[in-house]
Structures are given as structure tokens and as C-alpha cells.
């Protein structure tokens, strides 16, 4: 197995005395996970933040139940009789724990439900960014050469866009009827899948016909890496062409647009970090050793390099989450995020701007929730970084 992660976790530096040797032996007997947990436990602030995140997840999942438990009103229920004769929002009290918005909706309920949107975006968009970023980053870093050039330039192109403008443009373009119809995407994927699948096969066949060993045979040890992408793309193409309704859009207005936009804008950052790490890891002795033992690229990438990327992936992911929560809030604030009447903290803050000095509660509730959530994820991120990589600790 690879030693990278264990090395990182165990190498705290310094001379090992006899007394310390015993302790070291004790430490060595622990799994990396146990060591990580031990370090994390010492970071009380991170633990409190983690507790807050767990609570937030609980709130997001059981928002409906909590609303009933507190006797609050459903998040989208409007009550114009709660407003005054000018249509001004009602202050906290009178059946509304945190007051109402200008439509007579319960700010408490909407704040709870807003957590759901924030976390959905946070986890889904971040998950997609991680999957895309890690896979492409590993491929670019491991294969280098033309593959790296192509992927890195793609990252540069995406990074060159002003992210917010890109997001606003995509959000606006997709916000009415969605983007990317299923039949068009299916057709494109089928073509792409065939190209990805057939080109290596054709090149292999040509090489073999000419009696050269230029391209590795499709049946070689890396067949998974060589066939799988094309096959996967083909399967997806067939799925969108045959299963999904031809008029359906893959990027539906509302939350899917937000997630799509955040993913498009965010994956290059993750890919770059991973690529840099892989460029370094691929030269390590344990990779050389695996290669000399005849391990395939697939095995080296997934069994030897990927485990060594766990720490940076976890750390960067926890830092990505609050960024994405803020990004969603910003998009909703600018009107291209989730669509009404779905409660979103960003949209609530945007709605509150005009009346913030006469209805302080309206902006305060989602504002504080957003602040605490972002703070909690950042603190947890810092804590994880310290626990996973003590050499960079505070």
C-alpha cells in the first residue's frame, strides 16, 4: 500500500528518545484516522463549529417538522392580514417568532428552509466540483504532456472568465426554460463517446497493422482507463437520447442552474490543486516502485496516488463549501439563483434591502444564519487542515 498518508500523519519531526519511543510506538499502533480524530478533538473551536454544522444539517432535513414543532407558519404561506395598511412587514411576535417579510410570510420558517437550499447547493455543487476536479486533475498531473496541456488550458480558459459575470450570464440564460435539451446533449455525447472509444482502437489497429507497438493494445493492463471513458460517455448519450424526454432540459431553472453554474465556475480550482499534487506524487518512490512491479496506470492512480490526496481534498472541500454557500447567496441576491417562492438566504437578504431600516428582523435572520454557517465551515476546514497536516498547523 502507499505510505504517503501515513508518512504525513506520523512524521512530526524531532529526535525520538527512549521514552518517546514508547509513545511513538503507541502512536504508530493507531490508525491514521484515529490520529486525525485525536488531533481534531483538541481543536475545540472546530468541534463546536462541527456541532453547528451537524445541527444545521438536522435543521435542513427536518425543517418541516421544526416549523410544526414551533407552531410557525409554512414558509410560503402568505398572510396579508399580518401586514399593516402600507403592506409593511410585521415585527417579531403576534404568532411570528422572527416576524414576517413584506408578503406576510414567516421569516423563521423561511430561514429554516433556507438552510436546506444552502446545504443542498453546498454539498451537491461541491461534490460535483470535487469529482470533476479530482478526476481531471489526476489525469492532467499523471499523464502530463498533451493531455495535461489540453486540460490545463481548459482550466485557464474557465478561470479567465469573470466568475460572477459568467454565473450571471449562465443563470440568466438558463433561468427561464433551462439549458441543454436532453436530445441535443444525448446526440453530442454519442458522437463524443464514439470518438473517444474508436480513436484509440483505430490508432492501435493501425499501429499493429504496421507492426509497431506505438499504442498499447486495448486488451493491455490499462484497458479500463482506455475503454471506460468512451463507454461511459456512450452510455450517458444513450440514456439522454432514449430515456430522458427529448424536450427535457438538463439544467433546469432554479437550484439546478445554480449548482451547474457553481460547478462550471469551481472545478478548475480543485483540478489545479490536484494536478499540482499529482505532479509531485507521481515522482515519489512508492509510485516508481508500483510502476516497476508492473502496476497499471489505473492501479497507480486510484490505489497509490488517490489515497495521498485525501488530506488536500478534504481540506479544500471544507473550504469550498462556504464559498459555494456564499456564491449561491450572491446569485440569489442578484436574482439568478433559486426562483420564488423557494426560500433562500441570499434572496431573503436581497428582498430585505429596501426595508432593512424599518424591518431589521427580515435581514437579520438570514444574515446571521449565513454568517454562522460560513464561519462554521471555515473553522471546520481549518481544524481539518490542522488535524490532517500538523506541519501546517496554527
Amino acid at each position: 500500500m502507499s505510505t504517503g498518508a501515513a508518512e504525513l500523519l506520523q512524521d512530526t519531526g524531532g529526535t525520538i528518545t527512549d521514552e518517546a519511543a514508547g509513545t511513538a510506538q503507541e502512536i504508530a499502533a493507531r490508525s491514521p484516522l484515529a490520529l486525525f480524530w485525536r488531533r481534531l478533538r483538541q481543536d475545540k473551536v472546530a468541534l463546536v463549529a462541527l456541532g453547528f454544522i451537524v445541527l444545521l444539517i438536522f435543521i435542513a432535513i427536518f425543517a418541516g417538522l421544526l416549523v410544526k414543532l414551533f407552531g410557525a407558519h409554512p414558509p410560503n404561506a402568505q398572510n396579508s392580514s399580518a401586514l399593516d395598511e402600507f403592506g409593511s412587514a410585521a415585527a417579531p411576535g403576534h404568532g411570528y417568532l422572527l416576524g414576517t417579510d413584506a408578503l406576510g410570510r414567516d421569516v423563521f420558517s423561511r430561514t429554516l428552509y433556507g438552510a436546506r437550499v444552502s446545504l443542498e447547493v453546498a454539498f451537491l455543487a461541491t461534490g460535483l466540483i470535487v469529482v470533476i476536479g479530482v478526476v481531471l486533475g489526476m489525469i492532467a498531473g499523471y499523464y502530463r504532456g498533451a493531455v495535461d496541456t489540453m486540460l490545463s488550458r481548459s482550466m485557464d480558459v474557465v478561470l479567465a472568465f469573470p466568475v460572477l459575470l459568467l454565473a450571471l450570464g449562465l443563470g440568466a440564460a438558463c433561468s427561464l426554460k433551462g439549458c441543454l435539451t436532453a436530445d441535443a446533449v444525448g446526440r453530442d455525447l454519442l458522437v463524443a463517446g464514439l470518438v473517444v472509444l474508436l480513436v484509440p482502437m483505430a490508432l492501435t489497429a493501425i499501429s499493429q497493422a504496421r507492426g509497431r507497438a506505438g499504442f498499447k493494445a486495448i486488451a493491455g493492463p490499462d484497458w479500463v482507463l482506455r475503454v471506460a471513458p468512451g463507454a461511459l460517455i456512450l452510455v450517458l448519450g444513450l440514456f439522454f437520447s432514449l430515456v430522458v424526454s427529448s424536450n427535457a432540459t438538463l439544467i433546469q431553472p432554479g437550484l439546478p442552474v445554480v449548482i451547474f453554474v457553481i460547478t462550471i465556475a469551481g472545478w478548475p480550482y480543485m483540478a489545479r490543486i490536484i494536478r499540482g499534487q499529482v505532479l509531485s506524487l507521481r515522482e515519489k518512490e512508492f509510485v516508481e516502485a508500483a510502476r516497476s512491479l508492473g502496476a497499471s496506470d489505473t492501479r497507480i492512480i486510484f490505489r497509490h496516488i488517490l489515497p495521498n490526496l485525501v488530506a488536500p481534498i478534504i481540506v479544500y472541500t471544507t473550504l469550498l463549501i462556504p464559498t459555494n454557500i456564499l456564491f449561491e447567496a450572491a446569485l440569489s441576491f442578484l436574482g439568478v439563483g433559486v426562483q420564488p417562492p423557494t426560500a433562500s438566504w441570499g434572496a431573503m437578504i436581497a428582498d430585505a434591502i429596501e426595508i432593512f431600516d424599518t424591518a431589521w428582523w427580515y435581514m437579520t435572520a438570514p444574515g446571521v444564519a449565513l454568517l454562522l454557517t460560513v464561519l462554521a465551515f471555515n473553522l471546520v476546514g481549518d481544524g481539518l487542515q490542522d488535524a490532517l497536516n500538523p506541519r501546517t498547523g496554527r
Binding site: N76, A77, Q78, S80, L83, D84, E85, F86, G87, S88, A102, L103, G104, A172, S175, L176, P253, G335, Q339, P340, P341, D351, E354, I355, D357, T358, A359
Partner: protein, 603 residues
């Protein structure tokens, strides 16, 4: 006339639409075009004190300084201070126009096909033109407004029946219009293709009748759009500061400010306007209306705002603390929620009636600030408008049960839903009168408050009836240009449309918006796409009637016929509000519903 965002729609639509039906719909940031009428919440205009300077705080800029192109409330506010039209309105009477350049009432021939207007003498242009206004200048003003170089938003709509006017704007050259004759320097005659003189004579209040000196303007009119916009020759009590030699407007920095000073060639004896102030500065870029309105209320020599009404919380505070610093006037229009009658299920009249019956129009009104900002609408002829009284006033159309209860009537809505089911058993309606269909109904609303709030309240209401909406919010300008005014977009519900008067005639309120003959493929403002032959025919007949009770009654009946079709939910005849500092004697003109710079003064 349009207000704030509505001009954006027209700017793009007008060039593409052969100047037809460009009067456009109401925007959501500020009410509508012209004002209400004799009954306003404005106290009687008092005599002011001469002298002093006033600063008006505005969010945006005028659409055009060129009187041939301006079609926006803020543009009108400036235009009527620096220009003179054939007829115009005193601030406290927006029903009866008074002669301005004209010497007296328009003379209408017996066959309703000729309108003759005689001009006053001694009215001169500001520097650098300096000469007296002639009838030929008004003829040229019309001719240039039918050219591509001067894309007027309404010339074709209201003056397209003048003999010799082109169907589409002329390009490359400004061509003479044979139907406009100037037998002498102080007489202008409009010859019409149809018997539409009553309508034309009412429309002579519009800025298109501002004289334009051909020998001075034609060099600028060779560009597209015309550069005259930067070189306007003024005739009003004020003028935008300019270079006295070239006429270049030096006092207009678009997006920043407009400096207006006295026109040295203006003769008070020829004008009914007192023009108390020495100068007016319009400070633009005050996007934050809350801050701007508060600044005006607490400051000195300030007034606000150009977008119809300051936000409700500010108004609330102002009415509680500075009541005399706020003036309301009816906006002279109706806001409504339009159903697209060509899209299912709104092709079924009982579905439409059910939704109207269910709608809580009081809740909708609260999104704009409540009762202080307008009466609940029950039709499309607004208060104090010709035809309003004849139609039953504030109770017009309330004989129709679905328009009777402003708070909504769920039992009646259920009755109509079940009636719809009876009409068409295939409709997904359950025994409780609830819609059970799963398909989402495309609803496109503005993304700016208060329109967005209105749409969300409506969304909450209609969803209680079981309908599921594909609810989308878009910028106000694309709301019209890409969705609601484009029948191909097949938007089922447009919750943020409105129509406001261009001049005081009921035909201007109903013809463009509900005549089936006016359904356009682009820039359509008959948003429900109502096309009922009986209504179209009634409009044709009513358009030929002379101004007066008979005409008003005919249009009031048409208003009722439209309501019987339940094409939309009329929900507010709103008012426009302007605020000013304590030392400002604030006067608002009921026609353009904006602060009247000719009558306002410092205390």
C-alpha cells in the same frame, strides 16, 4: 406615455414595429404614464414665490431630450418645462388641455376628417435659433417623427391616420407628409384618412407637436438616430444650458445631471405657466430611492423621485411625520395580471373567472403600499378618466360577480372551476374545484420590486387553487421584449403588465390593449390576445364618436364587454407620489404625474 423601464421595451420595439402600437404597457417601478384628472390628492395650486433654485433627485436619465422621441414620464417632466406643445395641461386639471402654442381649441370638421389649429404669435426659440415659431416647424416635427432617424414611440399609433403618413418609418430621408398643410405661418391643418379627428385632437398634447426649426435641425436629422437630441431648440420657460453659438447642450451630462436655466426668449405673456424658479438642477444616479426620498424630505430645496413613488416604508414615515411634503396624483392607468387566452387552460373562460374570483386584490395592492397608493381596479378605465363615471366609477364592472369581492371569494371560485369542468370534462379538476393537473404554467414576472412582490403574492394565491406555476423572474425590459409582448413565447400569465394613458381619451386605454386587430407578433400589448369580433366592432364604431358623453359611454360599455371576457385581473388604479423638502412648494402635474417644474417654487 411610458414610465421608467417601459421605455426600454419601446426603444427596441419601436424600431422594429413600424411605429405601431408602441404606447406600451406599464412598468413596475413607477406607475404609468400620464396622470389622473381633476380629482387628485394634490391641494389646489397656490401662487408661488419667484426665484431660487431647486434640485430634483432622479434615479435615471431622460430617455431622449429630443421632443420627437421622448416617451417616458421623466422625459416628459423635462420636456414640458423646456418645450411648448400645441396643447398642454395645467397641473390641477389633466382632463381638459389648455392651448399652449395654439391660440384656441382645435377646429374639427363636420366629417371628423380635418383638424385645424391656429398658433399664437410672438413665441420665439431660445438661442441660438432665436426666431419666431412657425406652423411649418410643427409640420416638420411630425415629418421627422415618421422617419427612422427619429424613432417616435407613438407617431404611427396615434397619428397614422394623417393622410400621407407612411406605414413604416421612412429611412434615409425625411419625407413631406401631404396631409399636414400650413396655409400660413400660424395655421396648421391635419387631413385624415378616417373620421378620427376626435382622437387626433386629443393627442395634440403629446411632445410630437413641439416645433422643430427645419433649417437648424435638418443637419442633425441626417444621422440615425438624429443628433438633434444634443442640439434641441427650446421654446419653454426653461432651457437646458447650451452653447449659445452652436446650440450644443452643455448642461446635460447623461446619467449625471441636467442643468436647466431660464430661456431668455421666453415671453411670459404668451404662456399660462408662471415658471417661478430661476433654475432647476436634476441630479441623476440616485438609484437608492429610500435614501434619495429621505434626503429630499429632510433637506432643503430638494424633491424626489423620477420613478413614480418612493418605497412604501419611506412614504409611511413621510405621511406620519411630513404629510405636507408628499403629493399623490392618480397615475391614470391600470395594472393587471394578464392571462394568455390562447394557452390552455386559459382558453376556458370559467377558469379565468375562477382565478379572478379567488384573487385577493387587497393583498396584491399591499405590495405597492396599500390604499394610499391607489384604488382597487375593477376595469380598465381609471378614476377621473372620460368613461370612468359613465362606467360606474369605482364600482365599474362589479355587477360581474367575479370582480365584486376585492378580498377574493373562494366559494365563487369553486363554482367557476366546477363550471369549467362541466364545459370540458377532460380538464383535471377535482370535486372540490381544485386543479389537479401536473403541468406547470409558464408565468413570467419582473425581478424588481414591487412588481416581483405582486407576482409572488399572485403565485401564492393561484397555487391555492391547485395550479402549479413555472414561475420565472426576468429583468423588467426583457419581460416585455422577450416574453409578455412576444406571442411566440407562449407565456401563460403575465402578472406585471399595466397600461397608462398617453392622453385623455378612453380609446387610448382600450384600443391597443384589447382590440383583436392589434395583436402583433412582436411588441404585442394586447397581452391576453383578446380577439372578440363584437368588441373589435364596437371599438371601431366608438372611435368615430365626438368627444363627449356619448363617446365616453360607448367606451365604458366596451370596458364592460372586456371585463365580461375575464381576460385579466385588474387590481390597482395606482397613484404616483412625489416628495419634497419643507421649503419647497411642491406641485405635481396630473398629466405626466411628475413634479411640475413650471409651477413648483421655493417657499
Amino acid at each position: 406615455m411610458r414610465r421608467s423601464v417601459r421605455w426600454t421595451l419601446c426603444a427596441s420595439v419601436v424600431t422594429a414595429l413600424a411605429m405601431f402600437l408602441a404606447a406600451c404597457g406599464g412598468n413596475d417601478n413607477g406607475g404609468g404614464g400620464g396622470g389622473g384628472g381633476t380629482v387628485t390628492t394634490q391641494t389646489k395650486v397656490q401662487e408661488g414665490k419667484k426665484g431660487g433654485s431647486l434640485t430634483f433627485l432622479a434615479a435615471g436619465d431622460v430617455d431622449w431630450m429630443d421632443p420627437g422621441q421622448t416617451y417616458y414620464t421623466f422625459g416628459y417632466q423635462v420636456a414640458y418645462a423646456v418645450n411648448r406643445t400645441l396643447y398642454s395641461f395645467k397641473p390641477d386639471d389633466s382632463i381638459k388641455p389648455v392651448p399652449d402654442l395654439a391660440e384656441g381649441e382645435p377646429e374639427i370638421s363636420a366629417d371628423n376628417k380635418t383638424v385645424t389649429v391656429h398658433l399664437k404669435k410672438g413665441i420665439k426659440y431660445a438661442p441660438p435659433v432665436n426666431r419666431e415659431v412657425k406652423a411649418a416647424d410643427i409640420k416638420y416635427a411630425f415629418e421627422r417623427s415618421f422617419s427612422k432617424e427619429v424613432p417616435s414611440g407613438y407617431a404611427g399609433t396615434y397619428f397614422g391616420t394623417i393622410v400621407g403618413t407612411p406605414d413604416k418609418p421612412n429611412s434615409g430621408d425625411i419625407k413631406p407628409i401631404s396631409g399636414i398643410e400650413t396655409p400660413d405661418d400660424s395655421t396648421i391643418v391635419f387631413k385624415l384618412k378616417d373620421a378620427t379627428a376626435p382622437l387626433i385632437s386629443q393627442a395634440l398634447v403629446m411632445p410630437i407637436t413641439t416645433p422643430v426649426p427645419q433649417e437648424y435641425a435638418e443637419k442633425y436629422d441626417k444621422s440615425t438616430p438624429s443628433k438633434y437630441n444634443q442640439y434641441v431648440a427650446f421654446t419653454g420657460p426653461y432651457m437646458v444650458k447650451n452653447d449659445p453659438t452652436t446650440g450644443k447642450l452643455t448642461g446635460w451630462q447623461p446619467g449625471k445631471q441636467i442643468q436647466m436655466v431660464r430661456n431668455p426668449n421666453w415671453d411670459a405673456k404668451t404662456d399660462y405657466r408662471p415658471a417661478y424658479l430661476d433654475s432647476v438642477t436634476i441630479e441623476e444616479g440616485n438609484d437608492d430611492l429610500t435614501t434619495a426620498a429621505r434626503r429630499a424630505l429632510n433637506g432643503s430645496g430638494l424633491a424626489c423621485c423620477d420613478s413614480g413613488a418612493p418605497p412604501a416604508p419611506v412614504l409611511k414615515q413621510a405621511l406620519q411625520r411630513n404629510k405636507d411634503q408628499v403629493v399623490f396624483v392618480p397615475s391614470g392607468g391600470t395594472r393587471y395580471i394578464a392571462f394568455n387566452m390562447t394557452v390552455k387552460p386559459f382558453d376556458n373562460i370559467n377558469i379565468r373567472k375562477a382565478i379572478i374570483a379567488f384573487s385577493d386584490r387587497n393583498a396584491l395592492r399591499l405590495t405597492r403600499g396599500g390604499a394610499v397608493l391607489g384604488d382597487i381596479a375593477t376595469g380598465w378605465i381609471p378614476p377621473d378618466f372620460p368613461g370612468f363615471k359613465e362606467g360606474g366609477g369605482l364600482k365599474q364592472n362589479t355587477d360581474l360577480d367575479y370582480l365584486k369581492n376585492p378580498n377574493g371569494d373562494p366559494a365563487l371560485a369553486k363554482k367557476y372551476m366546477l363550471a369549467a369542468k362541466k364545459d370540458d370534462p377532460s380538464l383535471p379538476i377535482d370535486a372540490n374545484g381544485k386543479w389537479t393537473g401536473g403541468e406547470k404554467i409558464l408565468t413570467v414576472a419582473t425581478n424588481a420590486d414591487p412588481g416581483k412582490k405582486t407576482a409572488e403574492v399572485f403565485q401564492g394565491q393561484i397555487e391555492q387553487l391547485g395550479f402549479k406555476l413555472n414561475f420565472r423572474v426576468v429583468p423588467q425590459d426583457s419581460l416585455y421584449t422577450k416574453f409578455c409582448s412576444e406571442p411566440e413565447a407562449k407565456v401563460a400569465i403575465c402578472p406585471n403588465v399595466g397600461w397608462f394613458k398617453d392622453f385623455v381619451d378612453p380609446q387610448s386605454m382600450l384600443d391597443a390593449t384589447f382590440n383583436g386587430k392589434n395583436i402583433l407578433q412582436h411588441g404585442n400589448v394586447n397581452w391576453p390576445q383578446l380577439n372578440v369580433p363584437a368588441i373589435n366592432d364596437a371599438m371601431k364604431q366608438a372611435s368615430t364618436l365626438a368627444v363627449g358623453t356619448e363617446r365616453n359611454t360607448a367606451w365604458a360599455k366596451i370596458n364592460h364587454m372586456i371585463a365580461e371576457q375575464a381576460p385579466a385581473i385588474p387590481w390597482i388604479w395606482d397613484k404616483s407620489a412625489t416628495v419634497a423638502s419643507k421649503n419647497v412648494q411642491l406641485v405635481v402635474n396630473g398629466y405626466d404625474t411628475a413634479m411640475d417644474l413650471n409651477f413648483s417654487s421655493l417657499k
